[in-house]
């Protein structure tokens, strides 16, 4: 089922992707990720000495700090922090440096829909830039079910507001995190996963191609 989207995209079409790394000089790793008008900046500091709060003699800790574009951090941002923390913990090899903490700061530059997937992609790219050992890369995509029942990928803010159901799935050889908002049928959810998996394959290719060429073209950050 085709649907007319305000920006002229097809339901399966993603917005233009833009990625750059090592943009902050004081951070150990940094990356900016843009999907259309949605743009997120991520910075990584660490591994650094563990805190009493994050003390774990067997594993390293990941700390996520979400910085909204304006105003104070709210319930939604706290939830995003939690989701991001769990997702990043599942891709990092945390047994190498136990009792250390790696801080990931996510700054929202502009939100025009699909913010959480954009933040996951930015954070993952920043971890790669910082040289943090990862089990694999994570890529995230956002699917939305419109009122007419059509599934669209990478919705804008307007499209998100017009459609009640939004699912966000970062996946790499399977789903790591799945976040849904609103009510949807099981069939709709499974269709979202199908579409998301296909989109993630192309997104993963983009990530590997760009991260690979940009990371090795720059001098080593080894201490």
């Amino acid at each position: 089922m085709e649907t007319d989207r305000p920006d002229g995209r097809t339901p399966n079409q993603l917005r233009p992707l833009a990625y750059s790394c090592s943009i902050l000089h004081r951070a150990h790793g940094s990356a900016s990720w843009a999907q259309g008008e949605t743009k997120v900046l991520a910075a990584v500091y660490g591994p650094k000495a563990g805190t009493k709060k994050n003390e774990n003699p067997e594993k390293a800790s990941i700390e996520v700090i979400w910085k909204p574009k304006t105003g104070q951090i709210g319930k939604m941002e706290k939830e995003y922090e939690m989701i991001l923390k769990r997702t990043l913990e599942s891709i990092c090899i945390r047994t190498i440096y136990p009792n250390t903490t790696t801080s990931v700061i996510v700054q929202v530059v502009h939100d025009d829909g699909a913010l959480l997937p954009c933040a996951i992609n930015a954070a993952c790219a920043a971890l790669v830039d910082a040289g943090i050992p990862l089990k694999h890369l994570a890529v995230a995509i956002c699917c939305s079910v419109t009122d007419s029942g059509c599934i669209i990928l990478d919705p804008t803010k307007d499209e998100e507001e017009r459609s009640l159901q939004v699912g966000s799935e970062p996946m790499e050889n399977g789903i790591m995190t799945s976040v849904t908002q609103g009510a949807m049928s099981v069939n709709d959810y499974l269709h979202c996963l199908e579409r998301g998996r296909a989109a993630c394959a192309s997104l993963s290719e983009f990530v590997r191609k760009n991260i690979g060429t940009k990371s090795t073209s720059e001098p080593s950050k080894a201490g």
Partner: protein, 197 residues
């Protein structure tokens, strides 16, 4: 087996081989659930042949040429630290270098009374072993707690490598327990590290 002529570009999660064929080196890890070696960093894949005297004939696959994070103190590593506080039973120090590399983040270490020297550990006077500002070479014993790593200077080559006298001059070691100010000639007590010959 020769080292690969052309380095292949890899990113985290890319398969580097089977655990039956290769060993995981730097920038790689072995997944036990499917016996596969994956890359954990972005860089170039290199295969290092096994040592001639090694019983394991598998080559080591590693990822090199990547951006590395700052060094992290680990048990067994030798560190250079600056003493910040001396107490009756322990001394605190800020770790500055791990091996030959300087740290990016601040790591704190604690030298306990029983870890200052190998002999007569119950007679150690911390105030006659270290002073705030001293640069010490120490061995990381363990992770300690969330606040600090446990450090040891209980070897001849470990201890104070550089210290300032009250007059402000860098002192020279005169014995394993004493350092002398070149300006005033005053002798001060320290747990001195044996100079590398």
């Amino acid at each position: 087996m020769e080292e690969e002529k052309e380095a292949v570009m890899v990113t985290p999660g890319e398969v580097l081989g089977r655990t039956s064929d290769v060993k995981a080196g730097r920038g790689a890890y072995a997944a036990l659930h499917n016996n596969t070696v994956y890359a954990s960093l972005t860089g170039f894949r290199h295969t290092v042949p096994p040592a001639p005297d090694s019983s394991d004939l598998r080559p080591t696959v590693e990822v090199t040429g990547h951006k590395a994070h700052g060094p992290v103190p680990q048990p067994g590593s030798v560190v250079i630290a600056r003493v910040t506080k001396v107490m009756a039973r322990s001394a605190s120090a800020d770790i500055m270098c791990v091996g030959p590399k300087s740290v990016r983040e601040k790591f704190t270490g604690i030298i306990r009374q029983q870890d200052v020297r190998a002999t007569e550990i119950d007679k150690v006077d911390m105030h006659l072993s270290f002073h705030p500002g001293d640069i010490v070479r120490a061995l990381v014993l363990s992770l300690g707690d969330a606040r600090a790593y446990f450090l040891s200077t209980a070897k001849n080559e470990l201890g104070v490598v550089s210290a300032e006298s009250i007059a402000g001059a860098t002192m020279v070691p005169v014995s394993w327990t004493e350092m002398q100010c070149p300006l005033t000639g005053q002798i001060e007590q320290r747990k001195v590290a044996k100079a590398a010959s």
